[in-house]
Symmetry: D2
Subunit: 80 residues, 4 copies
């Protein structure tokens, strides 16, 4: 037995984030995932894409085999 977890060191959005405020987004991921909270973390659209910015995770919620992140974008990488 035991509880499966995944340790994550970046946020991969797959374009599924939902804006809740100016710079604050909600993202649901499958399974129970461990993310550093209140520590600058890379945000990417896919695992292999370039960094699209840096975020601070403000809230992590585990329930029903789902992890829900609330994160605040603190810097954005221009892609021009």
């Amino acid at each position: 037995m035991g509880m499966p977890l995944e340790l994550n060191t970046m946020i991969v959005t797959k374009g599924r984030e939902k804006r809740v405020e100016e710079n604050v987004f909600l993202l649901e991921k499958e399974g129970y995932r461990l993310y550093p909270i209140e520590i600058p973390i890379d945000v990417r659209k896919t695992m292999d894409s370039d960094s699209s910015g840096t975020a601070l995770i403000k809230k992590v919620e585990w329930q029903n085999n789902t992890t829900t992140l609330t994160y605040q974008l603190v810097s954005l990488n221009s892609t021009n």
Copy 2:
């Protein structure tokens, strides 16, 4: 740097749990704590007291340096 975490293998209520439903309780703990979710876990009033029952944690929430647990008591140890 890094994110301080505490790995917990039992729920220690210190009598601060709040009943939200028949067998479902909410408990706030200081700091970010890692608990097994959906796995039977001992519930105790204090760290050194006997087990008062067994619970399943249904939800774990991390925010503002606080961990909020929602757990369901699945068995109760009689203390008579």
Copy 3:
């Protein structure tokens, strides 16, 4: 991506432990597993068997998708 982990709250030996000293055992488990270290933890032969004793994990090693535990049995449950 991310690193798969399993949070464990007991030691399940499946009879594969190797004695290295009087009360000290070595156990290899597949994958990367998180166990509480230096905290009393239940030892069982199988997931569903009764507790065979209590141990303190003294060392955890992760390498090549394997977790190697060194634990000290601190009490033994008689099964007579």
Copy 4:
């Protein structure tokens, strides 16, 4: 109770790494620390310095309130 852990998303050497092979280093850190293993991770000399390269952690060992990492440098940032 519970087991204090620290979730780390980069390797901060403070110049204390020891070379064991061509690109392989050993580093001891105080306390029990959780690092992603076999996943590219930033290496820095101090928390605030620029990245000095990227490594793959090959082995993590917890014992006596110490974490010992074995990591392989996979790329080096020139600082000229």
